[in-house]
Symmetry: C3
Subunit: 417 residues, 3 copies
């Protein structure tokens, strides 16, 4: 289910959620647990398949996610939603944290607008919004994890989404909101600048008599962070970072600008035989982070001795492609995903690590090819086996001259109610 999906109780009940209904009120409990066993191709690798392995470990049990969620919904006497709110906790051996904690109030005059406030998924793209309980791959791609770690941010969002069955724009959903920026990676907003995020989405449209369904959207994030330092690095034309230390740099806003487009095609294979699905998303833009990483900062970046770290502004792009095929049965499915993330589109290969360039392992492009098999025992239990074949470009950086040995096999059970 989409993280910020419209309330759709038939779908939810179909997933076996337990509900208590009063006439206009509903309290629903749902949850899932994802225990998994993983094997890495080498000890202590860095990976986006559930977090880095410990230095001396190449296999591990882990509870990847343990989610429990309470939804409260209130309807009016036209069966239109009036308000909804959600509490979702994540509990694992690494701690207990919140995930979704938000409330949403619906306009009941036109039944098209809604306002959400709290902690919820950023309305950007498709993969960021697809729930980890429904995704066919164990993790989101590298790009999604680096740009929008844990997906969620705290803010307020206005949505346009017609809720009446006969509304002429019922196929359309538009979200626009303002967010802190740090999301769940920091305890609170560290500057006064807010991120604007907007998305226009066309819901699945029937293409032909075979009921092929196409959907897609465009997203934009116009955000940034205050430059606490005056030392700002950007790329020059000679594949190197150049520094700008103008005193007035401090206090300006460094850009975090993302532009994305996504589409999804779903082709039915026949009754009880599942679907053939294609999904694609492309994102490009500018990201501000530090020398050693391009992850969106959750707190003000500091040097090891506690001073404000220089900021690095890079142009990036990335994409993913999914191919999902049921094996002539609703119960068996294979998935292939290819994704890439190029954190710095101004350099490639051995330009990284060339003397005087100032480039680091944060500038290396990664391509990942993943393939997996899923078995849906019943609506409550899913088994998946997935292999991530991760390839970095060969650079002139010591330790990154060739593809690292950092592939991961994941065997996961997902229990869900």
């Amino acid at each position: 289910q989409f993280l910020m999906d419209m309330i759709d109780t038939t779908k939810a009940v179909g997933k076996g959620m337990l509900s208590m209904y009063q006439k206009y009120d509903a309290l629903r409990f749902s949850g899932y647990i994802q225990p998994q066993f993983q094997m890495a191709s080498a000890r202590g690798i860095n990976t986006f398949a559930g977090g880095n392995f410990n230095k001396e470990s190449d296999n591990r049990w882990m509870l990847r996610r343990g989610r429990i969620r309470v939804d409260y919904e209130h309807y009016n006497d036209q069966d239109m939603p009036v308000l909804q709110f959600a509490f979702q906790f994540d509990g694992t051996e690494r701690g207990v944290n919140i995930r979704d904690f938000y409330g949403r109030v619906f306009d009941t005059k036109f039944n098209v607008f809604a306002f959400a406030a709290g902690m919820f998924a950023r309305p950007f793209g498709w993969e960021v919004n697809l729930s980890s309980g429904d995704r066919e791959t164990p993790e989101r791609g590298r790009m999604s994890q680096i740009l929008m770690k844990t997906e969620r941010d705290i803010g307020g969002m206005l949505s346009f989404e017609p809720r009446k069955k006969d509304h002429p724009l019922r196929f359309l959903k538009i979200d626009a909101g303002l967010f802190n920026g740090q999301g769940l990676t920091g305890p609170s907003d560290f500057d006064s600048h807010k991120d604007f995020i907007g998305r226009i989405y066309i819901k699945p449209r029937k293409l032909n008599a075979q009921n092929w369904r196409l959907s897609g959207g465009v997203s934009v994030l116009m955000g940034g962070m205050q430059q606490f330092t005056n030392v700002i690095y950007t790329m020059d034309n000679a594949h190197a970072f150049k520094v700008d230390s103008t005193v007035t740099n401090a206090g300006k806003i460094a850009p975090r600008h993302y532009y994305g487009a996504d589409m999804q095609l779903k082709i039915p294979n026949g009754k009880g035989k599942g679907f053939t699905q294609f999904r694609a998303e492309y994102i490009r833009g500018k990201q501000t982070a530090t020398a050693s990483t391009t992850e969106t900062p959750g707190t003000i970046p500091l040097t090891p001795d506690g001073k404000y770290a220089p900021l690095y502004i890079r142009k990036f792009d990335g994409a993913y492609l999914y191919f999902i095929q049921n094996l002539a049965s609703d119960k068996h499915q294979v998935v292939v995903r290819y994704d890439w993330y190029d954190p710095n589109t101004d350099v490639k290969g051995t330009q990284i690590g060339a003397p005087g360039g100032g480039l680091t392992q944060a500038d290396i492009r990664y391509n990942t090819l993943g393939f997996g098999y899923l078995y849906y025992l019943n609506e409550h239990l899913k088994l998946s086996v997935y292999y991530d074949w991760v390839e970095n470009e060969a650079t002139a950086l010591p330790g990154y001259e060739k593809d690292l040995d950092d592939n991961v096999l994941t065997c996961r059970l997902q229990y869900r109610f």
Copy 2:
């Protein structure tokens, strides 16, 4: 609802809580979420309106509270409560913690006594006990937050509160308990001394034919903390701290003595027009803390180099006044609160910062005037806009010569079930 209120299922159900009843058992779920957007009058201010702003931030989204609560209640065949217990979690982007976690057992012979044990609100005063879901202001006053941060403490408490409708003392509630002292500000009791807290409360009494209702109470906290150091500062007669370093000071109990009185008047404005309400509370006493703060310590106070910090014992007083007025409608309400907290009643103004006095920013009196508007969309959703105008006395301390720029505007939505 009062944090340790008598079980009153009609009230609770009226608030839309979802319940599952068996004949004598009840399990109830309730919760609320408070997303808010705040603007401060300057960057990085210290404030009691939801915690200090980060150094470079003057506006922020935050999830002020995210509470989810499970109550279990068991009744006998005379419909008298036998036992009750509560689990309440608070989840925000800053972490997941417990709030109320207590059990209560009722005497079923006389139906007047009850014994509670666990983590629950200190039975002191009115504001400390009024739930944040019901309060008309976004936060408790500065005094309540400094003396009894997060309100709750762990301990045991005996209550006298007649539960039969015809009991002659049905208007009376008496609480008396022993508590660790550190509450939720520390992980465990750091000394062997316990705090005694007692409260006598007269429930709302009808004053006249217009059904004016007056209630009120008196409270006392006789607690303290062990002096781990022999270096104890108290005020002399010349507006300065004097030190007492008698070796035998170490091991004695430094006082935390609070005396309070409170009253509440509620005047109905007519059917559907709400109420006019006045509330007042005054507290004075002695507080033990350190040079730089008067907050009740949650752990043994230490100096930066890890030694036991000198303790400072100050006489304090403080008060708040609420005026709450519905705007001819149950849905619209305005609130004005004036509160002050004088952490050291032996000095004022430029005596603070005078050479040789040893006084600090912790000794400064603050007056806060807040005013707000509340809109109750329905029983599940409340919108509030509130402005805190915070005024410190002008002192001779560098940086505190005049009123600091530290006002805050809070825009809050509260979703509740």
Copy 3:
């Protein structure tokens, strides 16, 4: 109830759990809270009765456990379980963490096998698996806490346990699983080695016409941890540690081998008069830890300056004996427990602390005699008073020449639904 007990809804309902049933689905909520007041015989003692006292404290209120649990169960149309999963949180003033978070899938062809994955109690012994809500003593014995702190580990386990009433092996339960090893004491597996744990258990068998019931089991844990250092200490024949610093030691697996046997006898005293119960368990084996403790490490042991700490391999044994007697009533019960834990069976008494031996306080044997009284007010409330009389052997180590003053009295209420 046993931590990984078979689904037994009659028992669960008997405990007053609140359930919501659909035809084949069940969602159940349960929980308990254990507030307690404790007095120690001296300030700042180390104890296994709920964690060490703070340095200057000899009495304390604490919330020992605050558990809330959600169970989901799914049955097929023969009323045989198909899958089950559990979410259990522990919330106290010390934080919120997970306890049980696991899923289990049952074979529905033979109805004898089950596979569990996630975080659950290690299938070793009796005391480790008996729930803290049911145990007659406030805490597990010292040995259980040192070897398997918080009882649970993350892994996968295959079980053999016939579920059909007429199965000839219905009295038998066999568990075998692979686990990380660090359990809830560390955030993730720190090496690539997994622990094997197995247990064979004979369920209560009727012995005679008086319906005496005997049960028992044998358990084995064949685990270990990678030696990150080449400095390994073991005991020589002269009651001293000898060091082996062979370079090739690094990378080998240091042993964690436990062998245990347990039995339980339950004698009915007559209707409404409760039971007489005896329980015993003995465990011996080899444990790898460090110089100063024999607790199973949760992370790689480090020296204070951050290097890999030398490992110490010790032979240990330990046991406990319970005698539990109802006082001619289901409501009143006394319990006596004697337990010992000898962390190093190669030395005793003043051999510990002898010059050149390299032995520490971690090598001291402790015997604990505990006795308590329990009052079961109703199925939801239990009161217990329990005294732990802890005796260490007299050694030649400074500070441990005689029995330390470290006894603890615990007064506990347990609220449960």
